[in-house]
Symmetry: C2
Subunit: 253 residues, 2 copies
Amino acid sequence: MIKISIIGSGNVAQHLITAFNKSEEVQIVQIFSRKKPINSFAPEIEWITDWEKLLPVDVFIIAVSDDAIAEVSQKITLINQLVVHTSGSVALEKISNHNRRGVFYPLQTFTKGKEVDFSKIPICIETEFSADLEVLRKLAQKLSQKTFLINSEQRKSLHVAAVFVNNFVNHLYQLGNEICQENQIPFGILEALINETSSKIATLTPQEAQTGPAKRNDQLTIDAHLKFLENDFTKQSIYKLLTQSIQENEQKL
Amino acid sequence: MIKISIIGSGNVAQHLITAFNKSEEVQIVQIFSRKKPINSFAPEIEWITDWEKLLPVDVFIIAVSDDAIAEVSQKITLINQLVVHTSGSVALEKISNHNRRGVFYPLQTFTKGKEVDFSKIPICIETEFSADLEVLRKLAQKLSQKTFLINSEQRKSLHVAAVFVNNFVNHLYQLGNEICQENQIPFGILEALINETSSKIATLTPQEAQTGPAKRNDQLTIDAHLKFLENDFTKQSIYKLLTQSIQENEQKL
């Protein structure tokens, strides 16, 4: 049995609590958050709001906003505990060094109210001391079959890559949605295309999977699309820049 | 039984031939292409290279590159036939008017050698004469449960939207892939995130599904990412522009 406590009650904290709560080999001892939520979704776990009440456990997981990690880690009154954060973009060193530090970064997008299947989520772990690696790896394996040793420098690059393939991709869906709405077309018509595009990368590299007017150097179609977007400066700029980037990529080959 | 002939032997033509060939209610009478492929994948169908040999059928499907549609349609020696093209970006009027014109546009990305499940692919149809609509709709329904009446103006906008959610999205995967490679991280680590991002839009609007530093106005993280990309002008420009576009969107709400 691995004993853990969660610090935080936001989106990531809630998903972790729900997931760990299902494991019989992990016990969530306490959840610390400044405000106890009105509808507690894990009534059997002790909620505390007072740092003095924190009990020693195997792993403390700080799941708060990136900006608050350093400050929160300083408030832990216990010393020489294994304290990890869950952020893709914060260095291990931001955690106060009165405890043993680590990172437990589930590489996924968490949406409030939409349960995720942790078994398929890669968990990127890192520890300050190699002696702590084993317990963190075991904890990760309680949730996921995919655990990766990723150092802080790699994690930073991974987070940037994740912004491209998740946040920016979702924004392109939004732009596609807007174009559909403006032309009385149901956005659902694009769903099959969106799913095929994402599932392709399981069998092809993105380079191999690339299609479209930019890749084909089909200037007639590109010009027609830019004209179509002439009253939407932002969408037109994005169209131009991504077309140019695809063409630069083709030239590199 | 609907009798059709296919003009063309490229990627889309091959996918259509494979799919229609499976239907017992559609008969492919002839395939016209300038060169007969060495390995014919549909040996039981007559391949012709001579326009004079074309027989009348219910629907002629021109599946050639966008630029060639007009010219190919003029070469059809028969008159008053229903002739459709399969392109997202070419107007119905580009087909020669010595025949009855239409569009049969399967909204999907076709990759050579990767079979697609047509039953889930939206097929956008349009006909010059309303009397032709029924046969084209029936033909579409032999392949797909999802058929949409989309006029040429809407189809143009749909094609632009498709470039955003397919070609550009795939290119963002490519940029993520490059960032991973440069930092000795396997690209597969991002697969779960990519799949979750695309499957979210079945239950949430892209606007609701948006997360990340741009949406949160997390300027510290944005600055760190831009610094990380400082030696890659194109990626940095894309990061800036998409971040700005996400933030403009948030302000509109």
